[in-house]
Subunit: 326 residues, 2 copies
């Protein structure tokens, strides 16, 4: 394997500093999904924790280091989940956390960031503008900037999911991972490729926000002018070169899925698994729905990475099925 | 402590024979619930597993014993969750499982019992009639009857939840447990009283199905003519004397809640926690809603014990809030 920024020993060490509430999450076969999907499906559930997403794994590593050595003030840009998680991890360690987000971000995510005691600054633009603003705040105030996916601790935290997958008793043939900035995909992908090389690592991104997938395919950074998807958690436009380099080694494939498939995936996870999930967490099911032949008869793990939704919007998404009473 | 049928050493041993997919379930503070409830609330989530309820813990113990020593054919009565769990545990061990249920049981539960390969017999009556029929089948066919809550293995399996609660780093002041046949309440209650005697064990039952609560209060078995509640998982009418005896020692209190409180609890768990739960799993939140003063400022754990719902019915329940778009 070529060199990535990720390292199994460091990932194992990261696991030691993460609050156990984020670790050893449920991993289970969901047979009720399988007749519709034509393959064996296991769910790795990252939503049953205080911030309802996997992001706490990474922010625990970041905040643990800062609390020991670093500045006490920190700023990050976020679509909403990283900000919640950093607010949670920072609060417990007496850090002063500022989150910059788009004013169009999911309201429930912004509400929780505020409720967790972080400062919240909204920008009149998308996630990439929030990234710029967070960097400007860090420069002008001399505080620490946490950059999701670029800061290796965010990738190492996410990668602990991979340790749990490869450590499970049941072998799997493929893992489907939501692809946004890349922390989750590079982290989990690295561990799976290193320790279970026979399993396929497939990243999934919306067609409406394809920058990292296009970059992976062309092996160079491709940015897009706009992102147009309901999957707010993965709606970046400007991939980070170092993360792309890692992804080139950690992923076997990167696929793009349509919005209607994401919605169908969310609806299936509600109907058959009893799970409320945010759009990014349904990308894996969407990928199966769009390419059943590829997965037929195989055992696929999908990482259900978040459940922070505005419930009124969610209800419109999952209620749109023909014949549905909603 | 007086003598119950439960024993900590046996419960620890039970833990060793349960498939890990049912163990070490998420336990986490849900702050989003807390402003509405006025107390600290932790969720013990028993729904993220292959049968979406806690019942697999008990059926793993039962089926493990049968696979080693007992007859290969087994029958149980069930409101739907025990049947699913026994079907799952039995399938993996080559047991021949028959489930008897009411034809009015939650359709999703019956569908899953069938899908798991168990035989399913429906009776034209309630859960108590299903119990009678299951006993008759066991007698006439000479096969093993599994009686929920009476068979000590079902209580010991449920009691492993208690081990996980008392083993957690965060102390709690009270635990709220759905009360039906009594396996969950006696199991968890016994462990908590034995190992964390300062914590209050509060059982919660619907006003419409109060038999065990009335029995606990009068310290003798009280049966009711009918059960009228949406909480199908706890809708028994005929408490089992041996289980009542255990409950008298394991519970500090047993409270009854109204149907509208159960629905409000389900809605809160959806709105603030992102959890789809069945009515029995919302009994704890209902109890807080009905007696906020009792819990004010305390740290309460509620066991979210199942999520098997008919989604169309569930949507009517949670969609009934004023101003709600459903």
């Amino acid at each position: 394997m070529q060199q990535t920024r990720l390292d199994i020993a460091r990932i194992r060490a990261a696991r030691q500093v993460i609050d156990p509430v984020f670790l050893d999450t449920p991993l289970y076969r969901c047979e009720a999904l399988e007749s519709s999907l034509g393959c064996a499906v296991s769910i790795k559930l990252e939503t049953a924790n205080p911030v309802r997403s996997f992001k706490g794994r990474g922010t625990e590593v970041v905040a643990g280091l800062l609390a020991e050595h670093g500045p006490r003030a920190v700023v990050c840009a976020s679509a909403g989940n990283l900000g919640q998680a950093l607010a949670w991890s920072g609060r417990g360690r007496g850090l002063d956390v500022t989150v910059v987000a788009s004013r169009f971000a999911t309201a429930a995510k912004l509400d929780r960031i505020r409720a967790l005691g972080a400062g919240l600054e909204l920008v009149d633009g998308d996630y990439e503008l929030a990234r710029e603003r967070a960097a400007a705040i860090a420069r002008s105030e001399g505080i620490r900037l946490v950059e999701d996916s670029l800061d290796i601790e965010t990738c190492e935290g996410a990668a602990t999911i991979g340790l749990e997958l490869v450590g499970s008793a049941t072998p799997f043939d493929a893992v489907l991972i939501a692809l946004g900035g890349g922390a989750l995909a590079t982290g989990v992908g690295h561990v799976v490729k290193a320790l279970t090389p026979g399993a396929e690592v497939i990243c999934v991104q919306p067609l409406g926000a394809p920058a990292m997938t296009l970059s992976w395919r062309r092996r160079r950074v491709v940015t897009t002018e706009a992102a147009d998807t309901i999957a707010d958690g993965v709606a970046g436009r400007c991939p980070i070169p170092a993360v792309l380099n890692d992804l080139l080694l950690a992923a076997d494939d990167a696929v793009l899925v349509r919005e209607e498939s994401i919605i169908a995936g969310m609806r299936m996870l509600l109907d058959h698994s009893g799970l409320v999930v945010e759009p990014s967490a349904a990308l894996g099911i969407a990928a199966i729905l769009e390419d059943r032949d590829r997965f037929a008869g195989r055992h696929v793990v999908t990482v259900v990475c978040g459940s922070n939704v505005d419930l009124d919007v969610y209800r419109r998404w999952v209620g749109a099925a023909p014949g549905d009473g909603l």
